[in-house]
Symmetry: C2
Subunit: 333 residues, 2 copies
Amino acid sequence: MIQTPYLLFLGDAPDGLAAKVAQGIKDWRPEASVGQFRMENCKADLGLQDMTLAEAKAAGAKTLVIGVANRGGVISAAWKAVLVEALEMGFDLASGLHNLLRDENDLVAASQTHGQTLHDVRVPNASYPIANGVKRSGKRCLAVGTDCSVGKMYTGIAMEREMLDRGMKATFRATGQTGILITGSGVPLDAVIADFMAGAVEYLTPDNDPDHWDLIEGQGSLYHVSYSGVTLALVHGGQPDALVLCTEPTRKHMRGLPGYQQPTLEQLRDTALPLAQIANPACKVVAISANTQHLNEADALAYLAEVEARMGLPAVDPYRQGAARLVDALEGI
Amino acid sequence: MIQTPYLLFLGDAPDGLAAKVAQGIKDWRPEASVGQFRMENCKADLGLQDMTLAEAKAAGAKTLVIGVANRGGVISAAWKAVLVEALEMGFDLASGLHNLLRDENDLVAASQTHGQTLHDVRVPNASYPIANGVKRSGKRCLAVGTDCSVGKMYTGIAMEREMLDRGMKATFRATGQTGILITGSGVPLDAVIADFMAGAVEYLTPDNDPDHWDLIEGQGSLYHVSYSGVTLALVHGGQPDALVLCTEPTRKHMRGLPGYQQPTLEQLRDTALPLAQIANPACKVVAISANTQHLNEADALAYLAEVEARMGLPAVDPYRQGAARLVDALEGI
């Protein structure tokens, strides 16, 4: 577990998009985000209080979270100065960067000298078992997408919040870097050794109370040829009782694969459900979650109504409409 | 590439089954197997000439291949003495053991002193790309199974041999430890990082002559919840033009998963083909390869005839009948 609360490091972000990890943390864990740290020339702004390291320390911050992408894949000298000073002042560091903190000698040395922890959430920190496929107690919901980056994480977190607000037992289970930084724990599934992928998902979603729901963060897509194996490990390791189909209706082709068309929601349903039923014959597709950010309100609502009628399932954009109807769809499962 | 020819190390194998890796190498690469090295109490015998290290060296052997499972997951002192002596005499070592040669300090020291190479085929020796899904030239055939360990490797190698005998262009592409030791190269797919699985398969089966066939070694099964993600990475990274369905008709449940039934050949076909057509819309299921070793000859032939009639596809046990009809089934693809 990564210790909270966080000071969110935005560095010298050239724009808001570069700080989208920090934005996700601030949106979903405002109570854990005491402030933001911005360097000169930083063009991102989360609307949090700007703090020096000393101010954040006084406000109780325990971990400096790198919530921004680095330029050119290098941790710059300017960043380094801040990161080393943070370690000296008693912060842990957490990062989802491809460059690992643990590969930077000066950060390792400072963390050892000052007894602080470096969290590289991009790499696994546990040995996972081979999946055994044994049925587990408790309920599980998995978001599966027509493509990568269509709102699977958002859907899972929004459903968890709605369920907790209703007093239900629910846990969002993070399987990607941003999700792990938001929740403070999880499995970075795309970095797990192939043989242990499904076992890592079993490890992440263990036996639980019969009325407890795991909301498992989906990854990739069964239709995305670069990452489909990771997705199938989630479908089989997760043993979902319920699938939510996620889509982004304006996407022209599979992300990063110009030669590959998006599947229809019917194709996704007819591919994902039989595969899920191998691990859990009772699995059902319960709802559709669409990311309609590129449509205007009228077009978005028309699209959702059309999909709902066509598929015979609730179709919701949880960002526009909240996740209530997605959670309602789990009733009786 | 692992240098040939090999001296096959059988150690103190308690029975023939413990030496099945060596048996596979001897069966498929007899020209590369100059002899066997057996310690006292060795109960396995490949029928090759027993040789000392010096005799094998004189016969031209370049690599000592550990073709036997070790007991208790430990490389024993008795083995070590032989392995160190082999390095001193100028042999490379190759192993598919879970314990890596490179983790044994005495073997590392001896290999460095004597300029020899340690090949741990269980771990990748290259950085693989993320799959790009771009269509490649040449033809590819993938074996997909109802389960693990149903004869996918055997089917691929037998087809390669038949094709080479006919003067066709063909390459067996190994994706597992035994296959890599047999061919001398390949990708240990179950040890690759999740994000790079499909890319590793693309790397293994690059652009080729239009009339060249890659025979890709299958792994796991789309129906085996522990390993299905690896299988789907092969289906999508391999872009197969042809699928051969592999099965073992007497298997009672999925290997290692008592709660999971075997799929029928119809289920396997209807699951694997649409998934394969995502990456290659022209893909076809061309034949069935059954491992009938647990049936007598009459029952085996009756089974194959029944499957052939039912599925409308050639159904063959390549061990009993050769792979000719499997290769014939690729005609016109």
